[in-house]
């Protein structure tokens, strides 16, 4: 129940090709996260899966059955819209309960389900308000609530937590994970948040301009990216790409994550050492990011645990651990 297959799916809006042939398998019960730059087609792909957007070519199959032409209402899919799309005339409770009511569920049961969702999303006090009287984050939570009160085969979440504060976000994330576990439903989740992607996903799909760049388990993508795009996209701050030639390496680029660069005060020299000057320092509390200007490799980011003081413009030396580096060719493909 809920295994999704996309085969050579494409989508064009007029002359603009937005999805350019996507093949994808999402197994039953799997938690699949779509990541990719803004505008790469994530929402469009979700909408196609939901049946809200017709497929220009290719096939969408649910449990092996082609559903290209099945109306959305019959696909048993719940979706959280990026733009919320709440029913403006219904209270929070009714927004969440409408699908159940439509399915003919008993009143008491609906009340129970919506109450549970409301409590979970800290909306209890707002159940009788209408969307216009809610804050941005509250609206987003209603949208989530609306999806999760149902028990569909497939959940589609389009950036469901983007407007929530950190605490609520962690909490809701955990709830979604629990929901996934409890219901065993398949979930497809779009996010820009690295933490969400890494912690929730069974499988991450990296999209870029309507194409799948790489699919894999979170740590596989982190530790074994196929190309500079994926390497740069997974992990924040972004991976540093060093000029491999200048380091005497045969590859074109050497990718090293900010957390894998060492940083020492003062200038020093050596093959795996790069001198530079501190450009600026960002203290995030639990960690510190130091941006270092180097002559050969431009601006490099170093990420360090805890608080550290580096004077801006002070001379520093970067230490490279080549073992933790990734080699890429001129086209950006990984050399393994």
């Amino acid at each position: 129940m809920g295994a999704l297959t996309l085969s050579q799916v494409t989508k064009s809006f007029g002359k603009t090709d937005v999805i350019k042939g996507v093949d994808l398998n999402v197994d039953e019960g799997e938690f699949c996260v779509f990541v990719g730059p803004s505008g790469c087609g994530k929402s469009t792909l979700l909408r196609m899966i939901a049946g809200l957007e017709d497929v220009t070519s290719g096939e969408v199959a649910l449990d092996g059955v082609r559903i290209n032409d099945l109306p959305p209402a019959r696909r048993e899919i719940a979706m959280v819209f990026q733009s919320y799309a709440l029913y403006p005339h219904l209270s929070v409770r009714d927004n969440m309960g409408l699908a159940l009511k439509q399915a003919g569920v008993a009143k008491a049961e609906i009340a129970q389900a919506t109450d549970r969702a409301g409590a979970m999303l800290a909306l209890d006090a707002l159940m009788e308000r209408r969307p216009a009287e809610l804050s941005g984050g509250q609206r987003q939570r209603v949208a989530i609530g609306r999806a999760i009160v149902r028990t569909p085969k497939l959940f589609l979440f389009d950036e469901p937590l983007s407007n929530l504060d950190a605490a609520l976000r962690v909490q809701t994330r955990i709830e979604i994970a629990r929901l996934h576990r409890d219901l065993g439903a398949t979930m497809i989740y779009v996010t820009h948040d690295q933490v969400e992607a890494m912690t929730l996903a069974d499988k991450i799909v990296v999209l870029r301009a309507g194409r799948v760049e790489q699919v894999g388990r979170p740590m596989d993508l982190y530790n074994d990216p196929d190309n500079t795009f994926v390497a740069g996209f997974i992990g924040s701050p972004q991976m540093n790409f060093l000029n491999a030639g200048r380091l005497g390496l045969s590859s074109d680029k050497l990718g090293i994550r900010p957390e894998h660069l060492g940083l020492d005060h003062g200038a020093s020299a050596g093959t795996d050492r790069i001198p530079g000057r501190v450009s600026h320092v960002e203290k995030l509390g639990g960690e510190t990011l130091v941006y270092v200007n180097t002559q050969d490799h431009g601006l490099l980011t170093v990420r360090m645990f805890g608080e550290h003081d580096f004077a801006v413009d002070g001379a520093v030396t970067l230490r490279i651990d080549p073992a933790r580096g990734f080699h890429f060719d001129a086209e950006g493909r990984r050399i393994r």
């Binding site: 109306p71 819209f81 403006p88 005339h89 409408l98 699908a99 399915a103 609306r146």
Partner: protein
């Protein structure tokens, strides 16, 4: 919208042109006319009579019977519109606004054409069609074996008013249709999509999502129908004449007023009693509109998209 304490001239600027033209050319003449209801001619002189004309209208059985008859007919005329015209209009609009409907523009235009026709033509063609003599309606009923159902509807007291109301519905259904259609267009696609995802489709979607969202437009349509019907005149005048036959069974306030105010045939126009009727009509309509404005419109929720 923030409330600002300074004088907001722009409000005046926005209102001024409309208020000026409207006051000068409508309100002043109209109220000048309604004012006549307080006067009457006595020995060829216009004298102030206070509420006496109203006493005549409601107290003299000859006047009051005609008035109540017209009001009753008018109410029925309105009821038919509310029960037939508006539901059909809403239904057509709902169908037309379904996305990707082929030929929607054609249907929309076709259904709207009767609204464009002048009353003269409408009266002519329906009289022709319904005429027992020239055979269109009887012939068509005959073709489906229902000839026995045929009656000279426009000539029978018990049918004439309803028939006319239905003709009027036929002519004007384009109005609610278009207004509701415009309202439906403003419902964001995404809300409808969300409903589709929730399994709310077809009729349920109409009832639970679209209808509540276009309720203000339906309110407007109802009040326009109300006002329009209580001011209606032309269709009946064209088809049944100013005497609104048979036997005044199609007499509505508009024809009653016209006959009285402007006169008819040997009956000389009586601006004073005419204005009295007009004032009474105005009172009735105003009551309805106020009821709508203060009791309904305020309760209707509007949604910003």
């Amino acid at each position: 919208m923030a409330q600002r304490k300074q004088i907001r001239w722009h409000i005046a600027v926005f209102l001024a042109p409309a208020v000026l033209v409207y006051t000068a050319i409508m309100i002043v003449p109209l109220f000048g006319t309604l004012n006549l209801s307080l006067f009457n001619l006595e020995q060829g002189n216009r004298v102030f009579v206070g509420m006496r004309n109203f006493a005549t209208l409601f107290g003299d059985p000859r006047w009051s019977e005609a008035f109540w008859n017209a009001l009753g007919n008018n109410t029925w005329f309105f009821v038919v519109h509310m029960l037939v015209q508006n539901p059909i209009g809403v239904m057509l609009a709902a169908l037309l606004s379904s996305p990707r409907l082929r030929g929607a523009a054609f249907y929309r235009t076709a259904i709207f054409i009767p609204t464009i026709l002048s009353f003269v033509i409408v009266g002519f063609v329906w009289k022709l069609i319904l005429s027992p003599i020239w055979g269109i309606a009887p012939g068509m009923l005959d073709a489906v074996g229902l000839k026995s159902l045929f009656a000279p509807w426009l000539g029978k007291e018990e049918y004439a008013l309803t028939t006319l109301a239905l003709i009027s519905v036929w002519q004007f259904v384009g109005i609610p249709m278009m207004l509701i259609y415009a309202a439906m267009l403003s419902i964001p696609d995404e809300v409808i999509e969300a409903a589709e995802m929730d399994g709310v489709t077809g009729w349920a979607q109409f009832w639970k999502i679209k209808l509540p969202l276009i309720l203000p437009a339906i309110g407007i349509i109802s009040i326009l129908t109300f006002v329009g019907n209580f001011n209606a005149f032309d269709l009946i005048y064209v088809t049944q004449g100013a005497l609104a036959g048979p036997d005044f069974s199609t007499d509505i306030l508009g024809t009653f007023l016209y006959r009285t105010f402007f006169g008819f045939q040997l009956q000389i126009g009586d601006p004073h009693m005419g204005a009295t009727i007009a004032t009474a009509m105005f009172g009735i309509i105003l009551l309805g509109v106020c009821f709508y404005l203060f009791a309904i419109q305020r309760r209707l929720r509007r949604y910003q998209f």
